[in-house]
C-alpha cells in the first residue's frame, strides 16, 4: 500500500533517535579534543626517528645518516647532513650520526618508503595527525629534535612490529657479538700469547621494556 514504506522509514528514524539516548552502541561519537579514540595499530602517519633512550634522544638515535631514505623519498621531503665526527651508537660501535635530519611534513605523503628502505630500523611511522601550525614553513618543518622519539613510544604505537624489530635487533647484535667474540678468540688463538686480553665488548644495552612514555 502506498505510504507503508514511509511509515517504516519513520519508524527506523524514531528508533535511531530514541536509541541514541540510551544505547552506547548506537551513539558512538567521541568528543574529540577532550577524549580521543584509540587509533588502530595499523594506522600510520608521518615518520619519526627511533632513539634507544628517552633521556638522551640525540645520543642514542639509531640513525647513522646513511641517506638511503633521503634518496628514496618520492616527494623528497627528507634532508640529512652527516656529522663530521663519530659517536658510539647503542651497541657501542663508533658511527656517524645525522647532524641535521629534517622532514617537511607539508610535503611528506606518509608513503612509508623511508621506513621500508631503512636498514637500521631507525625510522618508523608515527601516528600523529594534529600537526597544525600557524607558520607553514617553520612550523611544519620538523628537525631531528622534534622527530626523535624513544623506542618505548614505538612500542606503544605498534607493539607487534616493535617486538619483531627488537627481536631482530637483539639476534643481530647477539650474532655480531658472537662473531666478534669468535673473531677475538681466533685472534687470540692466532696471536697465541697476546700481551693483553682485549677488553670484552660492552654489554648489550638492555632494551627498555614497553613502558608508558614519561610524557
Amino acid at each position: 500500500m502506498l505510504g507503508s514504506g514511509l511509515l517504516q522509514g519513520l519508524a527506523v528514524t524514531a528508533k535511531n533517535f530514541v536509541g541514541s539516548f540510551h544505547d552506547p552502541k548506537r551513539f558512538v561519537t567521541t568528543q574529540y579534543p577532550e577524549e580521543k579514540t584509540r587509533l588502530p595499530e595499523a594506522y600510520r602517519n608521518f615518520p619519526f626517528l627511533v632513539s634507544e633512550n628517552a633521556e638522551d634522544p640525540m645520543g642514542t638515535l639509531r640513525c647513522v645518516a646513511c641517506q638511503i631514505c633521503e634518496k628514496e623519498c618520492p616527494p623528497q621531503c627528507i634532508y640529512i647532513e652527516k656529522s663530521k665526527d663519530k659517536k658510539p651508537d647503542a651497541s657501542g660501535k663508533q658511527q656517524i650520526y645525522p647532524a641535521v635530519f629534517d622532514i617537511d611534513t607539508a610535503v611528506c605523503m606518509s608513503c612509508q618508503i623511508c621506513v621500508e628502505v631503512c636498514p637500521f630500523d631507525a625510522i618508523k611511522m608515527d601516528q600523529v595527525f594534529e600537526l597544525a601550525a600557524t607558520d607553514r614553513f617553520t612550523g611544519l618543518m620538523l628537525d631531528r629534535h622534534a622527530l626523535a622519539k624513544p623506542n618505548s613510544y614505538f612500542h606503544q604505537l605498534h607493539p607487534t612490529e616493535a617486538a619483531e624489530v627488537d627481536d631482530r635487533l637483539a639476534t643481530e647484535r647477539k650474532a655480531a657479538e658472537e662473531k666478534a667474540r669468535a673473531a677475538a678468540a681466533a685472534k687470540a688463538a692466532a696471536a697465541a700469547k697476546p700481551p693483553a686480553v682485549p677488553p670484552p665488548p660492552p654489554a648489550v644495552v638492555p632494551l627498555p621494556p614497553p613502558v608508558p612514555p614519561a610524557a
Binding site: 500500500m1 502506498l2 505510504g3 514511509l6 522509514g9 519513520l10 527506523v12 528514524t13 524514531a14 535511531n16 533517535f17 536509541g19 541514541s20 539516548f21 548506537r26 551513539f27 558512538v28 561519537t29
Partner: protein, 401 residues
C-alpha cells in the same frame, strides 16, 4: 489581540491581555489602538524570531540524534547559544552581489519574501484572545499572502543573473504552483463544514466535546483526517521542506535560487522559509487540530495559548522527523504527486465533506452507515490512486554486466 476577556476566566488565560493593558492602558483611544497593534506585532515577531532561532537548533539536534550524533553542543549549555553564534556569523559574512545582477531586485527579493511570510502570522489565533488581526476572510488573506511569496522567489532567481539560479527559480515556481492547488482544495471542506472563512470562527466551531471525551476537531472526521494529510503534504512542499526541498537542494542543485546569495540576505531567506513553515503549521493547527482548544474538558485550566504552542511544536517536530527520514524527490515525481494524486484526492475529499455535512442529522445505526460510507470515500480513492501512482514501481532489480 482583541476581544475583551471576561473576568470568569483564569488569570493565566487573561495574562497577555492584562500585560498589554498594563503597558498601553494609560493612552487615549486612537493612540491606544495603534500601540496595541504595535505591541502585538512586536510580540509576534519576538516569539517567532526566538522560535525560529531555537527551531534551527532543535532541528540540528534532532537530525543529529537520528543519525546517532550529538548535534551542536559546544556553544553554551547543550549548544543553546548556537543560533546566536550562527546569527553573528551570518551578519559578519561578506555580502556578495554579482556584478551582472539586477542590484535592486537582488536586494528586494529576500526582503519581500520575509515581509510576506511575516504577514501570514497576522490572522492566526494564538489563543482565546490572541488574534493580531480579526478578518472576516482571514483564511483567504493567509493564502493570498502565501501565494505572493512565489513572486519573491522568482525575483531572487532572475535578479541573480545566473542560469542555474533562474532554472531553479522556474523549478521552484512549478513546484509552488502545483502544490498551491491541493493546499487550497484541502481546506475548502473545512470552510464548507464550519461555514466561515474567519480563523476565529473556524476555531470556535471546533469547540466542545462529544461524550466529554472526543473533541470536535476536524481531524477526527474521516474527511478531516484526509484533508489534514493532504494539507500537511502540500505544506511540506510549499515551505520547501525535505523531501520536497528541490528549490534549493544544496547537495545536488547548488542551492537553487539561493546560489548567488550570501551573508545576511541568505539568512533572510532561511528565516522566511522557517517562518513559512511555522505559519503553515499554525494554519494547520487552526484549521484541523482545533486551534487553541484543549483536547479534554479537564485540561481546560491550562491556558489556550499553551495548547496552541504545544500543537504547533508537535507539527514542527513532525516536519523535522520527516526531514530526517525521507530522501529528496525528483521534480517529475514531485509534480506527478501533486497533479495525479493530491489534487484528485482533495476533490474527492470535498465530496466526502459534502456528504458528511448533508448527513449530519443521521443517528443510531445510520450513524454507522455514515462513518462507513465516509471511510470508503476516503480510503477507496487513496488506494486506487496510490496503485496508479506506484504502478510499475517495485523493488529495483540490478543487472550486472
Amino acid at each position: 489581540m482583541s476581544a475583551a476577556a471576561t473576568t470568569s476566566e483564569s488569570f493565566l488565560e487573561r495574562a497577555p491581555l492584562l500585560l498589554r493593558d498594563a503597558v498601553t492602558g494609560f493612552l487615549p483611544e486612537p493612540a491606544r489602538w495603534l500601540a496595541n497593534s504595535l505591541l502585538s506585532i512586536v510580540a509576534v515577531l519576538a516569539v517567532f524570531g526566538l522560535l525560529f532561532a531555537f527551531l534551527t537548533l532543535a532541528e540540528r539536534k534532532i537530525l543529529g540524534r537520528v543519525q546517532n550524533r550529538p548535534g551542536p553542543n559546544r556553544t553554551g549549555w547543550f549548544g543553546l547559544l548556537q543560533p546566536f553564534a550562527d546569527g553573528i556569523k551570518m551578519l559578519t559574512k561578506e555580502d556578495i552581489v554579482p556584478r551582472a545582477a539586477d542590484q535592486l531586485l537582488h536586494f528586494l527579493a529576500p526582503v519581500t519574501l520575509l515581509a510576506l511570510s511575516i504577514l501570514t502570522f497576522a490572522v492566526i489565533p494564538y489563543g482565546r484572545h490572541l488574534v493580531p488581526v480579526e478578518l472576516d476572510s482571514a483564511v483567504l488573506y493567509f493564502f493570498a499572502a502565501g501565494a505572493a511569496t512565489e513572486l519573491a522567489i522568482f525575483m531572487a532567481g532572475w535578479a541573480s543573473h545566473n542560469k542555474y539560479a533562474l532554472l531553479a527559480a522556474m523549478r521552484a515556481l512549478a513546484q509552488l504552483i502545483s502544490y498551491e492547488l491541493p493546499l487550497l482544495l484541502s481546506f475548502v471542506p473545512v470552510v464548507l463544514a464550519t461555514g466561515t472563512l474567519s480563523t476565529t470562527g473556524i476555531v470556535a466551531a471546533q469547540g466542545g466535546w462529544k461524550w466529554h471525551l472526543i473533541p470536535h476537531w476536524i481531524v477526527f472526521t474521516p474527511w478531516g483526517a484526509a484533508g489534514f494529510a493532504i494539507f500537511m503534504v502540500s505544506a511540506l512542499a510549499e515551505s520547501n521542506r525535505s523531501p520536497f526541498d528541490l528549490p534549493e537542494a544544496e547537495s545536488e542543485l547548488i542551492a537553487g535560487h539561493l546560489t548567488e546569495y550570501s551573508g545576511f540576505k541568505y539568512a533572510l531567506f532561511f528565516m522566511a522559509e522557517y517562518f513559512g513553515m511555522c505559519a503553515l503549521s499554525g494554519m494547520a493547527v487552526t484549521l484541523f487540530l482545533g486551534g487553541w482548544q484543549a483536547p479534554l474538558p479537564v485540561l481546560e485550566f491550562i491556558p489556550s495559548y499553551v495548547w496552541f504552542a504545544g500543537k504547533l511544536l508537535t507539527l514542527l517536530l513532525g516536519f523535522i522527523w520527516i526531514r530526517a527520514t525521507l530522501p529528496r524527490l525528483r521534480i517529475d515525481q514531485l509534480t506527478r504527486l501533486a497533479w495525479k494524486f493530491l489534487v484528485p484526492l482533495a476533490l474527492v475529499n470535498l465530496g466526502t465533506a459534502a456528504f458528511w455535512s448533508l448527513t449530519s442529522a443521521w443517528s443510531g445505526p445510520l450513524q454507522l452507515l455514515r462513518w462507513a460510507v465516509a471511510l470508503v470515500l476516503v480510503a477507496g480513492p487513496f488506494l486506487l490512486l496510490g496503485r496508479g501512482l506506484t504502478a510499475g514501481l517495485g523493488p529495483r532489480t540490478y543487472r550486472y554486466a
